[in-house]
Each structure stands twice: as structure tokens, then as C-alpha cells.
């Protein structure tokens, strides 16, 4: 089985280095000398930097890019629809929460994007961390109900895709929903489904092509996959979102972390209900205060969230070590990766050149 390897694209702007943290690429923060794509007077702006990342990603050997969606990011639909002409094989993995868009609108947008890109749209369905962030989005639906809505949303989306379709449900009502002739017959996007709670795992069993998890200590990850398998009639494939800090030598890699750690703040959870985040934190509870104390197993480091917003765990090491850890994950059942590094442009080129060629897959 081939393994699909994606690379994240920064939707929140980008930093010049993980150790520096400050977002100076992409036009969100205040201007400072050296900022890239500030969109000031030259007409080049955030989208031009993202287009550069997409092109570099495609060339480096990745199948596409995850376009994440949080309050502080740009919007993945806007980005994907603006970038359709920049690449020829790059897949746009669009993160979105059902409920913000009507499923019929989502079907129309998706099919139109499939037509514009030759079928390069992939979904990352997220159902929301809850708490204040969910109300920021204007969403009042409770945590467990959101997964029920996600299920109904995907039912309607698929129904309309293969319409005509009628539906009278708890969240949506549609009479005679269908795609127009111009958009019929487009391939339905692959679904990467995120969520660590029991409600999420139950919903994933029904809809996911890939169950997508953040990286965790490998035994915990294996246990999580086993749970998803147990809840699915047809088990999905598995995908992991992994930050990568790979250098020629292990010392160089840890030196980057050490320097970043020296200026890092301990990020609060922001009151999130995200089960994945709490789970991640639990794996480093009681760890010492040195950055190396968060290395829970060789090269698996749980402090990335202190250096940039997002998941906790990632891989730190030399090119061979990182490739070996990725191979271990493949042997553990991982079918797809979403890798990431800061800055997303240069690190895509580095990982594509130095790490991906070392992968051995199941043979290792």
C-alpha cells in the first residue's frame, strides 16, 4: 500500500524559524524589517507566499498540503480556490467544521473545486474544540451534538453529491438537492477525520477514509487506532499529523529546540474542550522543567506547542533518526502523514530532499 505524505501549509502566517516563533511572513502581525510578503506596496502578499509553499511542497515530493482552519488563520476554502492554477498535482486538504457552511453549499463549492483542479480536493473534517472558541465561530451546538451534526452534514453532502436528494433531519432540511449537470460525476473528496473523544471515534467509524490523529507516544497512538478499529464496521486508514525538526546531526536539531525553548512561553490551553490536546498534555505530566524532559521516547518530543500554536508532539533528530521513526509509525499502521515544519517553505524542501528518500516503509 502506498503511503500518502502531505505537508502542512501555514494559514496563520509563518515564522522565519521555529526557535524564533514570531510570525513575520504572511501579513498578520505588525510590520517589521525582514518581513516577507507584507502585501504593502509591491502587490505581493500572503497568497504569493502560500503559492510558493505549495509549489515547493509539490516539487519536494509531497502529495499535497493540509490547510488548517482556526480563528487566527486565513480560510482554507478561500486559499484553495485562489490557488487552483498554481500547481498541477498538489492536493488541497481543506480543514473545515461542518455547521459553518450549509452542506449543499459545501457540495457545490467542493464539486466546483474538483472541476477546477482535476479532482485534487481532500477534506479534513474537524468538529471543533468547543469552549469559547466555538462561540467565537458563532456555533452554539454542544460537543457531543457536534459529532451528530457532523454525521448528518456528511450524509447530506454525499446525498446531494449523488442527488437528487431529500432530507428532513435534526439539523438540515433539503428538498430536491442535487448538483447541476456541469458538476455531476466529480470524484467525492477523500475524508480525513479528526477527533479524539468517544463521540468523534464513533462518527469516524461511519465516515472516515482516514482517521487523523496528532502524534502521540507510539504505544498510545497504537491503542487509539485499536479503539477506532473496534468502533468501525469497515476500519478506516490511519493518518498522523507530525511536526518534524530534522537536521544533519541530532545535536543541531536539539540545539534549535534549546534556543526556541529559552524564549518560549508556556501556552495555556485557551479553555479548549479539545480531548486531543488534554490527552497530549497528560503524556508529559510530571516531566521535569528541561526541554529534554519532554522527550518521551527517542526523538519524540512533546513541547512543540510551546514554540508555536498547535499540536504538542513531533520528531526531533537527524535525518536518519526521523526517517526511522516515521518507518516505525508505518509499521504501526500509519497509511498517511501530514508533516510540518517552520518555516513551511524551506523545511518542505529540506524534508523532501533529506528525509523522504530515506524511508523504507513496511520493509524496514
Amino acid at each position: 500500500m502506498p503511503v500518502d505524505i502531505y505537508w502542512r501549509i501555514a494559514m496563520e502566517g509563518d515564522a522565519p524559524a521555529l526557535r524564533l516563533g514570531d510570525i513575520t511572513r504572511g501579513g498578520f502581525g505588525p510590520y517589521r524589517p525582514g518581513a516577507l510578503a507584507p502585501g504593502a506596496n509591491d502587490g505581493y502578499g500572503p497568497l504569493d507566499y502560500m503559492a510558493e509553499v505549495a509549489r515547493a511542497t509539490e516539487r519536494a515530493g509531497f502529495v499535497g498540503g493540509l490547510m488548517p482552519s482556526f480563528p487566527e488563520t486565513d480560510d482554507p476554502w478561500a486559499a484553495a480556490a485562489s490557488l487552483t492554477g498554481e500547481t498541477s498535482a498538489y492536493r488541497f486538504m481543506i480543514a473545515f467544521q461542518p455547521g459553518f457552511l450549509h452542506p449543499v453549499q459545501a457540495a457545490r463549492m467542493s464539486a466546483s473545486l474538483q472541476a477546477a483542479t482535476g479532482g485534487r480536493v481532500v477534506y479534513n473534517i474537524i468538529s471543533g474544540g468547543g469552549g469559547p472558541q466555538q462561540l467565537w465561530w458563532g456555533d452554539r451546538v454542544d460537543h457531543d451534538d457536534r459529532y451528530a451534526r457532523t454525521s448528518e452534514f456528511l450524509d447530506v453532502l454525499k446525498g446531494v453529491w449523488n442527488g437528487p436528494y431529500d432530507h428532513d433531519g435534526r439539523f438540515y432540511t433539503v428538498a430536491g438537492g442535487a448538483l447541476p449537470p456541469d458538476l455531476r460525476g466529480q470524484p467525492f473528496p477523500e475524508i480525513y477525520f479528526s477527533g479524539s473523544s468517544p463521540a468523534a471515534i464513533a462518527a469516524a467509524g461511519r465516515h472516515a477514509d482516514y482517521y487523523l490523529s496528532w502524534l502521540e507516544p507510539f504505544d498510545a497512538l497504537a491503542e487509539k487506532f485499536a479503539q477506532v478499529r473496534a468502533h468501525s464496521d469497515t476500519p478506516p486508514k490511519f493518518a498522523v499529523r507530525v511536526d518534524v525538526l530534522a537536521r544533519e546531526t541530532e545535536d543541531e536539531a536539539w540545539e534549535e529546540i534549546r534556543r526556541g525553548w529559552a524564549r518560549a512561553s508556556d501556552r495555556a490551553s485557551g479553555g479548549t474542550e479539545s480531548v486531543g490536546w488534554k490527552r497530549g498534555r497528560s503524556f508529559t505530566e510530571g516531566a521535569g522543567s528541561s526541554y529534554r524532559d519532554l522527550e518521551v521516547q527517542p526523538n519524540v518530543w512533546g513541547g512543540f506547542d510551546r514554540l508555536r500554536p498547535g499540536p504538542l508532539f513531533g520528531l526531533v533528530g537527524d535525518y536518519h533518526q526521523v526517517a526511522e521513526r516515521l518507518d516505525e509509525l508505518i509499521r504501526l499502521g500509519v497509511d498517511a502523514f501530514i508533516l510540518a515544519g517552520v518555516p513551511h517553505l524551506e523545511e518542505a524542501r529540506r524534508v523532501g530532499r533529506h528525509v523522504l528518500p530515506l524511508l523504507k516503509g513496511k520493509l524496514s
Binding site: P30, A81, S112, A116, W137, V156, V174, G176
Partner: protein, 271 residues
């Protein structure tokens, strides 16, 4: 200053059938010619392109983003219904388009949709309630756009402590286009519209004060006769025209080369 917009196509044209002996390398399913229409409008100095909501065509937001990427100067107006997305999400998506494309996006909120079309798109609201929802939609979208700490609990939408992140890149709220001649439609325009679009024959005096009057009409007759038609509207205070072309790309160039110069002769400015 008179502004001329051309309506972009949303469906793929039927391809011309080439004789058997002519080598045909055309891609199998070409999409609509929205990008070529946008480029024609840009090259020809028109003010913009309208990408309409077409239940039988491609999605307007997706087409509009591609037109924006292909152009630098023209406005791109996208028509959609308030039932398609929450106002927070519409604002967030549009804020990114504004950041990416120099603030050239405009919204045409479609309110008075055919009921069967609305139901097929998951919208069961009918009658004047649709105008209340549109009012709430635009109010909340503007609210979250303007800054942090915005809350509102409405009949259709709600947001708590909302507000888009700051952007170094200029990110103006989209120009708002509305239409309709009912009291509810005109009232909504008075509160929210930058542009109010009339049908041919509607009285321009209906357009609320402070809102630009526009007319949407087909490109009919020769350039001279069409220009005369536009001038007659101009005399009644209409400053924007949305032109439905028979052949979008060719007509965008015809507008640019034959109609704009005639308009400019009279008014001093056109585009």
C-alpha cells in the same frame, strides 16, 4: 463616475465541434470562461465582474476566487444566499479573499430566491423573514469584521466574543450589493447597501439616499444604441451598470473598446 461590470459565465460553453481531420487537443471538460472574462474586463478597463449565483452552474465563490487571482484591479462581486454559511464564516472566508486580492471582493446577497431553488439548497425560510435574516447576517458580518469582543444573539445567528484577527494587509469589508423593490428590500438596502441593483424599468428614485443605483441589463443592439440606453439611465442618477453578455469574453471586449469610449465622451469618466 460611471462603472460598468460584466456578468461572468458560470457554466461551461458547449464546445464547437471540429471536423474529424482537424487535430483536437482541447481538454475534455473545460470549465466556464470566467477567468477569460475577468481578464477581458481587466484589460479593457471595466470596473468589475459579477459572478452570479447559478443553481445550474459552478459555485460563485470558487469562480470568483479564480477571477481575483487572475486580475489586479477590477472588483469581483459574488452573489450568494444568507443560508449558505453563517455570517461569521462568510466574513472569515471573505476576509481572506480581501487579504489575498487587494480588497476587491464585493457581496451580492441574494434574498428573494425562488422557493424551490431555496429548498433544494436547504433553505426553508420564506417571505419577509428572509429580509430579517439578511439584516442579521450583514450586521453580524460587519460586527466581527470590525474587531474583537463582538457579541450578538440573533433569531438566526449568534456570536460570542467574536472578531477577526488583525491583519497587516488592508482588508476592507466587501462592498454590499442588494436588489429588489419591495418595502423590505428597500429598507434592507437603506441600512446595508453600497449598491442597489434595479431591473430595467424599475424607478431609480426608489434607491435609498447614499446608495449607488445600478441597473442590470442585457447587452443588446449595437454599441451606439447600447450607450444611448446607458446614458438615459445616467440621466436618472444610475451610476453603475451590470451587463449580461450573450458571449461574455467577446462582449467584455466590445464594452471596453466600443461602449466605454462613447460613455467617457459624455461624462468624462467611465470604467
Amino acid at each position: 463616475m460611471t462603472r460598468v461590470h460584466v456578468v461572468a459565465p458560470t457554466r461551461a460553453p458547449a464546445p464547437a465541434v471540429l471536423p474529424d481531420f482537424v487535430t483536437d487537443v482541447r481538454p475534455p471538460a473545460p470549465g466556464p470562461e470566467h477567468r477569460a472574462t475577468g481578464r477581458a474586463a481587466e484589460l479593457g478597463g471595466l470596473s468589475g465582474v459579477l459572478v452570479p449565483f447559478d443553481p445550474g452552474g459552478h459555485d460563485a465563490l470558487v469562480l470568483a476566487a479564480a477571477v481575483l487571482r487572475d486580475t489586479r484591479r477590477i472588483g469581483v462581486t459574488v452573489e450568494f444566499s444568507a443560508a449558505a454559511a453563517t455570517p461569521v464564516y462568510a466574513a472569515k472566508l471573505s476576509a481572506s479573499l480581501q487579504r489575498y486580492h487587494a480588497g476587491r471582493l464585493a457581496w451580492w446577497l441574494a434574498v428573494d430566491q425562488d422557493p424551490a431553488v431555496a429548498r433544494a439548497h436547504g433553505d426553508v425560510l420564506t417571505g419577509p423573514a428572509r429580509y430579517e435574516r439578511a439584516d442579521e447576517f450583514l450586521t453580524i458580518a460587519r460586527g466581527v469584521w470590525s474587531g474583537r469582543g463582538y457579541s450578538r444573539e440573533g433569531a438566526h445567528f449568534a456570536v460570542l466574543d467574536g472578531g477577526l484577527p488583525d491583519s497587516r494587509v488592508a482588508r476592507p469589508f466587501p462592498r454590499v450589493w442588494l436588489s429588489g423593490t419591495s418595502p423590505e428590500a428597500l429598507d434592507l438596502s437603506a441600512r446595508h447597501a453600497d449598491v442597489h441593483v434595479l431591473a430595467p424599468g424599475d424607478d431609480p428614485a426608489l434607491v435609498p439616499d447614499g446608495v449607488a443605483a445600478a441597473v442590470r441589463l442585457p447587452f443588446a443592439g449595437d454599441a451606439g444604441a447600447f450607450t444611448d440606453q446607458l446614458r438615459a439611465y445616467e440621466a436618472h442618477g444610475v451610476t453603475e451598470f451590470v451587463v449580461d453578455p450573450a458571449d461574455p469574453v467577446a462582449d467584455a471586449y466590445r464594452l471596453a473598446e466600443h461602449v466605454l469610449p462613447r460613455l467617457a465622451k459624455e461624462t468624462g469618466h467611465a470604467g
